[in-house]
């Protein structure tokens, strides 16, 4: 028999009312009303990330809650002046979510080689039993994208594009659109890391 370890507590869906505990003002509670968890302040070039989570029938997942985790502009996690973490709720009407953050720098992979700049995203929603983990990369970084060890681990090369956001024209700051498809044509790549 292998050595026994404690077993990880099983995940369950965050449910449709996930906002009560995570973004209470969005749920309608009269507490923490000044919180702007989708805005991640810090030094660096401001960028806006927008998108919709789509279900397998092409409808927006309007109860989704997303969490973002990223390095600062110098490629550091837990830098003193940048939390690197944020949360956004999909709009209850359109399903659109938005983060207002800084462009991440380059972080080394396990072998010391650079990864292309990216943010990590977790998706929580009713019907999602264990949160889904994906990454948003930036389309301008062509050479870095081609060399990125995580993208290269996606065997079906045609699926790698699901992880690259699209630059949107206009906007006060560079804006990127990242649609997440849970199922069906163009299904987004999700990771187990």
């Amino acid at each position: 028999m292998p050595i026994e370890y404690l077993k990880e507590t099983p995940s369950q869906t965050g449910g449709p009312y996930v906002h009560i505990g995570t973004m209470p003002a969005f749920a309608g509670l009269e507490i923490r009303q000044d919180e702007q968890q989708h805005v991640i302040p810090g030094p660096g070039e401001r960028v806006k990330l927008v998108g919709v989570v789509w279900d397998g029938s092409g409808h927006p997942v309007r109860d989704a809650m997303l969490e973002l985790w990223q390095a600062d502009s110098a490629g550091r996690h837990n830098a003193p002046d940048f939390s690197g973490w944020g949360r956004a709720a999909a709009s209850s009407e359109t399903g659109e979510w938005e983060f207002d953050t800084i462009r991440p720098g380059t972080v080394a992979w396990r072998d010391g080689k650079p990864q292309a700049p990216h943010v990590s995203l977790l998706i929580f929603a009713r019907g999602i039993n264990i949160h889904l983990h994906t990454r948003l990369y930036f389309p301008e970084d062509e050479a870095a994208l081609a060399a990125d060890p995580v993208l290269r681990a996606v065997e079906q090369t045609g699926r790698r594009a699901t992880l690259v956001a699209q630059r949107v024209e206009g906007g006060e700051v560079p804006t990127y659109r990242f649609d997440i498809r849970l199922q069906g044509e163009g299904e987004t790549v999700f990771f187990d890391m």
Partner: protein
């Protein structure tokens, strides 16, 4: 940018508590994505396999939350939304320890909870269940685990409520919870149930889990010794997050 200017690969190198890689998640302990008994999962479940990789520096690190963000009553849901008096319902303490798979306490980690009121109604703009809102109950709580991984909340036992799945299925009484650990890869959101609730074996969401053992690990146990006389019953609920592999030998990244 040359490779040698980048932070080292593998484990996070920022601050105490960071060590080796987070251990691979044992997916057999969790529900699969596609669980047709829970109908909403049908269109929200990826069909392709997850892409499995060892965690990198970003996944081995994680957001840090300062206890200073917490207001004094945030772990007391009986009083943290009080307007004219205390929340209505069966008064309970929910407490336990946060450990990782290797048995190490998970210290100073943020725990968030949310729940329905005693009538089974959520204070959420989208909940239209006919049970009344309690003006003195919000249903949101937060705390940090202490230096030994211990945490506790005071709340009221949430009510069961009906939902559209197979036509008025009923959710057992449950409290949602969310933990961060100290690595992005340790993130966990789940639900806590109560020992002896006859709705537990009937719940399609609990039934998404692979076996009875996994389901039992989400059931809080009545603890009479920790119950507060003439005040509150106590339920014990320990939480286990992914662990970290010990670093036995350091493999230096290229260029170092």
């Amino acid at each position: 940018m040359s490779h040698t200017t980048l932070p080292a690969g593998g484990g996070s190198n920022f601050g105490p508590g960071s060590g080796g890689d987070v251990i691979k998640r044992d997916r057999s302990l969790h529900a699969p994505a596609f669980t047709p008994g829970y109908k909403t999962s049908v269109l929200r479940s990826p069909r392709f396999a997850l892409v499995s990789l060892e965690p990198g520096p970003g996944e081995n690190a994680g957001p840090k939350f300062d206890a200073k963000i917490l207001a004094p009553l945030e772990n007391d849901l009986i009083r943290n939304y009080a307007k004219s008096g205390e929340a209505v319902g069966e008064r309970i303490i929910v407490f336990g320890k946060v450990l990782d798979e290797t048995g190490r306490p998970v210290r100073n980690t943020l725990i968030e909870i949310w729940q329905a009121n005693a009538g089974g109604r959520y204070r959420h703009k989208n909940d239209a269940y006919l049970a009344a809102l309690d003006p003195n109950f919000g249903g949101a709580g937060r705390c940090m685990s202490d230096d030994d991984g211990n945490y506790f909340f005071r709340t009221i036992r949430p009510g069961p409520y009906p939902w559209r799945n197979h036509g008025s299925d009923w959710r057992p009484a449950h409290i949602h919870f969310s933990l961060f650990g100290d690595a992005f890869a340790q993130r966990l959101v789940s639900q806590l149930y109560f020992e002896g609730d006859p709705l537990v074996p009937l719940c399609p969401i609990l039934a998404t889990l692979p076996d009875k053992d996994a389901q039992d690990r989400l059931v809080a146990k009545l603890d009479m010794k920790m119950s507060v006389p003439f005040d509150s019953l106590a339920y014990r609920f320990d939480i286990v997050l992914r662990g970290r592999r010990q670093t036995f030998f350091e493999t230096k990244p290229e260029g170092h």
